[in-house]
């Protein structure tokens, strides 16, 4: 059960991201909580889709928002804040994977999701989803991230291009190739 919002919180809700960032930069650290509340879900999902692990996602989530706070002074208002935050999250995921490669084989990192055996149809659907998710996780980063951002987070080509600092044409091409690779992994022929 959530408590009613205070007047101060309501004022914050009406503030733009740029206003909140200006508040943070002027020393009102608490304003950062509102920024985090706005983007916590998308940032967490980008991380979780990448790592496939709750524990790692929780750690990375904290690391990413601390990175975001420390870098607030470098935020360029030319980009949407969400795009900038996702870029930081994706970079943190790459760093995580790099570190993990040195210690644990990546195949063992994929956790099975919260699927619980239920009615048969639901079970089959979950199996199918898990198969697809595994296939996506098995793609190289350069193909995997565009697929996750486009199909799971609903970002546009332009936004993905901003996140990855690549031209839209490259993003389109990678997504096209990624789908072909997925199709082949899932034994789907496509033309």
């Amino acid at each position: 059960m959530s408590r009613p919002r205070t007047r101060r919180e309501n004022v914050r809700l009406e503030m733009t991201d740029a206003n909140i960032i200006a508040e943070c930069l002027s020393g009102r650290t608490e304003a950062f909580a509102e920024l985090m509340a706005r983007y916590r879900r998308i940032v967490y999902n980008v991380i979780f889709n990448y790592t496939g692990s709750r524990d790692d996602s929780d750690d990375l989530f904290q690391e990413v928002f601390i990175r975001i706070y420390r870098s607030l002074g470098t935020y360029d208002a030319e980009y949407q804040f969400s795009t900038w935050a996702i870029r930081i999250a994706v970079n943190a995921c790459f760093d995580w994977r790099k570190k993990r490669r040195e210690t644990v084989p990546i195949e063992s990192a994929a956790e099975v999701s919260d699927a619980r055996p239920g009615p048969e149809e639901q079970y089959i659907a979950e199996e199918q989803t898990e198969r697809v998710l595994e296939a996506v996780r098995g793609l190289p980063d350069m193909y995997r991230v565009p697929v996750q951002l486009f199909h799971q987070q609903g970002l546009s080509y332009r936004e993905i291009a901003d996140v990855l600092k690549q031209p839209e044409s490259i993003v389109k091409n990678r997504l096209y190739r990624a789908r072909l690779m997925l199709a082949s992994k899932l034994n789907v022929e496509c033309g």
Binding site: T29, R41, K172, G191
Partner: protein, 168 residues
């Protein structure tokens, strides 16, 4: 066309045409349905909800950090423009009194400012690359050096201009 459908970039007419074809061609229908099932299931994976306690631990960490400083790099074009205006002002104000020397003095001033900025950016990138944890702090520190370097370069330029004036 099938891939453009999954890009969400097909118009109504093209989508209808694709669907018509898929309806008539068993081979394409099989491909389309299976790809739709795969990408569709990806799009319908329920989002994960971050645990509530995470926000508070982030805020605890954030409260212990210094307030982030606005990036000076964003203001570099302003400094560059100010430098150019200053240099041109020297040149115009003293026109007719050795313009070549004055332009050289102005060019030296600008060159000094640009060189300081470039060296600083290189140093900040280098330090940031070695110690990512202090990249932001290194960047801020070195940009402060730019300011000092830029001002000193302007003073050198001013001195050159005055020397030329005295000769004249």
């Amino acid at each position: 066309m099938m891939m453009r459908f999954f890009d969400r970039s097909l118009g109504e007419e093209q989508t209808a045409s694709l669907r018509r074809h898929v309806g008539e061609c068993a081979r394409c229908r099989a491909r389309f349905d299976r790809l739709l099932a795969a990408l569709g299931s990806l799009e319908h994976v329920p989002g994960a909800e971050p645990p509530a306690g995470l926000d508070e631990s982030v805020m605890r960490a954030v409260r212990a950090l210094p307030v982030p400083a606005p990036e000076l790099a964003g203001t570099a074009p302003v400094f560059a423009a100010a430098g150019i205006l200053l240099a041109l002002a020297f040149a115009f104000a003293l026109q007719g009194n050795g313009p070549v020397e004055l332009m050289l003095a102005a060019a030296n001033t600008l060159n000094g400012v640009v060189a300081e900025a470039w060296k600083t950016q290189l140093a900040a990138d280098f330090i940031g690359g070695l110690f990512p944890g202090i990249a932001d702090a290194a960047g801020r520190m070195f940009w402060n050096v730019v300011l000092a370097g830029g001002v000193s370069s302007m003073l050198v330029g001013l001195r050159s201009a005055v020397a030329v004036l005295r000769k004249v």
